[in-house]
């Protein structure tokens, strides 16, 4: 044993697994950043977007005269000015062959279909001048009734969101395991079952609410354009902008500089990116557009917004027999980049970690006169996880079983991996028992159950509940073939290049563009191990299509799993090329060389060695290379995964509910996640914390609310409740590690886990606290008002009251009529 320990001490510590502090921090903690809005170019003009104050209307007249004559205004454009060149915001995911896409103009020409839609653009010498002139643009609308409620939208004779379409349905997607052959006949399973529980769950509309408002800068240079944008997806944006605007792809460079968060919200080709490019092309001048927070909340895409009708079948002993999910998914007014694909990403996850013999998924995409929806952290999988984990609790109540016991009875056992579910996915690895056991200990489950019993017996006004969520998700988007089979418009590979510089320093180019995840640090750790060079000698380059020409960017917890693997494979190629040079320099056979810790050593000949960083210099000089060898050891690699990876975990929430006030308070939150091999525990822990915060926020705080006229009434951070530090608990987190077999790192992905798993744990906990009082559901978010009403008046707490001021100066509604305040009479923000 002593010998082994000494050997371990002598070998340099592996970088993978170390809690390296992040390289990115140096510029971020000192304010020396390059946010898009920080950029100023000579002669740059500023854009301000005039937005529709009504949800649904025909545009009857547009008068730009007053705005055009305002001081320092250079130009004012309406939709008519770009009607022939703006094309449509692309939708890359036609989920069914007959999906209806109404087309999505970047700027409205004849009609508007949601509040906040662009209707005119002011171009001025300063941002203030542009914003002043917004008030002077005069547009008349012939207002039409808005479509706001999905269940109403599919009724016979419903008002139409788009009057040129036949209905409000965009698509009808069905996955029937019985037909596909991955499960039995669902109807039969339900007919034969002892117990069927049916529930209707509402996934409220959320807003990604990244902290950095979106910003775009465009610089025309001859017939070339450089576009900087606060985007998650510079590579996808470049391709799509070329297709939409006709600017040839090779004449367009897209740069994502420092990007202040995205969470799916910047996984988009936005109307403002298209319009900025069109205006810059029209005027031949550099332009900048930066949104206000209110613009962001009402016009950047939203997330979630589904109604879920879930039926679950089981026998009396609690053996699951079938699952049937009928989903209405709100598209909003238009289809953006992957709008229809979001509920379909969830289609394969409703079965969760359980062995269902039968499964049916049936989803309709519905148009309404609201802001389009699209990716938000988890994208389809949080909705699926919520539904299954909530309905498992409901089934447990129906059966009189312990909710954990019911789960344990039906989940996939560690020895059963790889396991193909009724949804047809092959889960890779894991141990649900181990994670659960660890989480129970972390929470102090038994003691809290005992306290719950005491509080219940003493009729304590503050009741305690414990919520469980045992989840898995599909990460590592994505195998290109699978994406193709789902009609997605692109592949799911990722690209990397490694450049060995003459001084031995290393440049790593990744196509996976970060916006806060810490790629520069984690990728440096991967390369330091693979090439045996110091962590500090590695520089990671990204986010600029002229530096990193190939990539699929960052979303779906894919970066490390797919992009990191491309980096590893590129590094392996560098080593293979360097080996030839090293063999030549050492006058040895390649086969006789060992490579470790950055050095090639001739086996059995102590002292005969050369470092890979010295090889880099030798290759730069190129004086003494093997005959016929290209003087470079640089390498590229592109990795396309064969399968998804499947992180899993057990999340437990202990919740206090004050039955007298309706206030809920998370007493303790504990989770144990298996995200595969951990490259940097610091980053993994941070991702878990952030995900938990957003998942808990869905359960307790956040909701995008529209009034009866289609006005977003949560259009500022006063109303849209992004939680503060005081609103969130301390998280107890832990990990189990089962390496992912599908990539050489063994990583499964961590970006979305906390957000996916936590929401049902929190709601289940609140219900567990008050179920004995007759409460079986409370709509999210669990505001004190809703919780109090559910306890004292029955039902699910009801919809959120929309009475209040109209923040955007639109028409007064029935619900806002009579609720005049000083602010509302001015039509201003509260």
């Amino acid at each position: 044993m002593t010998v082994t320990e000494n050997a371990a001490e002598l070998a340099p510590a592996k970088e993978v697994g170390q809690a390296r502090r992040r390289k990115e921090d140096a510029r971020l903690i000192t304010g020396r950043t390059t946010w898009t809005d920080n950029m100023t170019l000579p002669g740059m003009l500023h854009l301000a977007v005039v937005r529709s104050p009504v949800a649904h209307a025909k545009i009857t007249s547009v008068d730009l005269t007053a705005a055009q004559q305002a001081p320092n205004v250079v130009a004012v454009f309406s939709g008519r000015d770009f009607a022939d060149e703006q094309g449509s915001i692309p939708c890359a995911w036609p989920v069914t062959p007959d999906m209806v896409n109404p087309g999505h103009p970047s700027i409205a020409v004849d009609e508007v279909n949601h509040v906040g839609e662009a209707v005119a653009i002011v171009v001025a010498r300063s941002k203030a001048a542009a914003q002043d002139a917004v008030e002077l643009v005069d547009i008349d609308y012939d207002v039409l009734p808005p479509v706001l409620d999905m269940e109403g939208a599919i009724a016979e004779g419903a008002t139409l969101t788009h009057d040129h379409l036949e209905s409000n349905e965009s698509f009808h997607f069905v996955f029937d395991a019985g037909e596909i052959g991955t499960g039995g006949n669902t109807e039969q399973a339900f007919a034969d079952a002892d117990v069927v529980v049916s529930r209707r769950f509402v996934q409220q509309r959320l807003i990604p609410a990244f902290m950095e408002p979106r910003s775009v800068v465009v610089q025309p240079q001859g017939d070339n354009f450089t576009l900087w944008s606060s985007t998650q997806v510079p590579h996808i944006l470049r391709v799509m902008l070329a297709m939409v605007t006709g600017v040839p792809e090779h004449k367009l460079r897209v740069v994502a500089p420092d990007v202040g968060g995205g969470f799916g919200g910047k996984l988009q080709v936005t109307p403002e990116e298209v319009l900025s490019l069109l205006v810059a092309r029209r005027l031949g001048k550099p332009v900048k557009w930066t949104e206000t927070r209110s613009e962001s909340l009402m016009s950047a895409h939203h997330g979630r917004d589904q109604i879920q009708y879930i039926d679950i079948a089981a026998d009396r002993e609690g053996n699951l027999k079938g699952l049937r999910c009928r989903i209405l998914s709100d598209m909003g007014a238009y289809l953006r980049l992957v709008t229809p694909g979001i509920p379909i990403l969830g289609a394969f996850m409703y079965v969760g970690i359980y062995k269902f013999p039968a499964y049916l998924f049936d989803c309709r995409g519905i148009f309404t006169n609201k802001t389009p929806t699209d990716a938000y952290r988890g994208a389809g999988r949080p909705e699926a996880t919520f539904a299954i984990e909530r309905v498992m609790d409901e089934l447990a109540v129906e059966l009189g079983m312990d909710p954990l016991e019911l789960r344990r009875k039906n989940w996939i056992k560690a020895e059963e991996f790889p396991f193909t579910t009724a949804a047809g996915l092959e889960y890779d690895s894991g141990d649900y028992d181990a994670a659960t056991q660890q989480a129970l200990e972390l929470l102090g489950y038994d003691e809290l159950r005992e306290e719950q019993r005491r509080r219940r017996e003493s009729n304590d006004p503050v009741q305690l509940g414990i919520g469980i969520s045992t989840f898995t998700e599909m990460c590592g988007l994505a195998p290109s073939r699978v994406l193709g089979s789902l009609s997605y418009g692109a592949g799911g590979w990722e690209s990397a290049s490694i450049r060995m510089l003459p001084t031995g320093k290393v440049e790593v180019v990744t196509g996976s563009t970060p916006h806060g995840q810490g790629h520069e640090t984690a990728w440096s750790q991967l390369v330091a191990d693979q090439l045996g060079v110091p962590f500090e000698d590695v520089e990671v380059l990204h986010g600029d299509t002229s530096v990193s020409p190939r990539g699929m960017d960052t979303y779906g917890s894919r970066s490390l799993v797919v992009g990191g693997t491309a980096v590893i494979k590129a590094a392996d190629k560098v080593v293979a090329k360097a080996r030839k040079v090293a063999a030549h320099l050492l006058e040895a056979s390649e086969d006789d060389l060992d490579f470790s810790d950055g050095k090639f050593r001739v086996r059995g000949t102590p002292g005969a060695e050369v470092g890979i960083q010295d090889v880099a210099l030798a290759v730069f000089a190129a004086h003494n290379l093997p005959d016929g060898m290209e003087p470079t050891i640089d390498a590229d690699a592109t990795f396309d995964p064969v399968n998804f990876s499947f992180p899993h975990g057990t999340h437990l929430c202990a919740m206090e509910v004050d039955t007298e006030t309706g206030m809920v308070k998370i007493r303790k939150y504990a989770c144990v996640d298996d995200v595969g091999v951990i490259v940097n525990p610091l980053i993994v822990e941070g991702q878990m914390h952030g995900g938990l915060a957003q998942g808990i926020a869905q359960a307790l705080y956040e909701e995008a609310v529209y009034d009866a006229d289609g006005n977003l009434t949560t259009g500022t951070f006063v109303d849209y409740l992004v939680p503060s530090a005081a609103d969130l608990p301390h998280f107890e987190t832990g990990n189990t590690v089962h390496p992912a077999p599908g990539n050489p790192i063994g990583a499964k992905g961590v970006g979305e886990a906390g957000c996916i798993a936590s929401t049902p744990a929190v709601v289940n906990a609140a219900l567990d606290a008050v179920r004995h009082l007759g409460v079986s559901d409370i709509l999210m978010p669990l505001t004190p008002e809703r919780v109090w009403r559910a306890i004292h008046e029955g039902g699910d707490g009801g919809g959120r009251a929309t009475a209040g001021t109209n923040a955007y100066g639109g028409a007064q509604t029935e619900t806002t009529a009579g609720v005049a305040t000083d602010a509302s009479s001015l039509g201003g923000d509260r």
Binding site: E24, G31, M211, F263, E685, G690
Partner: protein, 169 residues
């Protein structure tokens, strides 16, 4: 236009500003102090927090003319002249108190002010103390750790009482 005299990060400026110009816009657009950022329009997010005569203010809620005759310190002015980081900056780095980093300048400025008022804040006191600053990435846990570590260092206590970082470390 009104003329103002302000000292920002140790440098004196005399400038003409529109009466409506917000301090944050003056800092960003006229002085190029783009380390201070704008995250909302309603003084909720705190991303624009700076120190005005030593007190934390949201610079989107202060007119530039109100800073006339005052001293402003931004994220760009808290390190020492030799380039060393402020203990709060160091602690945010050490404790992984940031991800995308957009809220970080404001969060650091608010946290320094908090520790100036309360040299040894409990976890709850930190959470209450920074509730005017929103972060969407971190879930705040590591920010709380960072503030507590910096508080110890700023007040001459050994930094090390704080929990070890990293679940697997």
């Amino acid at each position: 236009m009104s003329q103002i005299n302000v000292r920002v990060d140790g440098m004196d400026y005399t400038d003409d500003v529109e009466p409506r110009t917000l301090l944050v816009h003056y800092l960003r657009e006229q002085l190029g102090k783009v380390g201070t950022v704008v995250g909302c329009d309603t003084s909720n997010c705190g991303a624009c927090t700076v120190h005005l005569d030593g007190e934390a203010v949201k610079s989107c809620t202060v007119f530039a003319v109100q800073a006339d005759g005052s001293e402003v310190t931004t994220i760009e002015g808290i390190g020492s002249a030799d380039g060393a980081l402020h203990p709060m900056q160091k602690a945010f780095h050490e404790m992984h108190g940031l991800q995308c980093g957009f809220c970080t300048p404001g969060m650091i400025m608010a946290s320094i002010d908090l520790v100036n008022d309360n040299p040894d804040p409990s976890e709850d006191e930190v959470r209450e103390g920074i509730e005017g600053n929103l972060c969407r990435c971190t879930g705040y846990q590591n920010i709380v750790r960072a503030v507590q570590q910096a508080a110890a260092e700023m007040n001459g206590r050994t930094a090390g009482a704080t929990e070890t970082m990293g679940a697997q470390a």
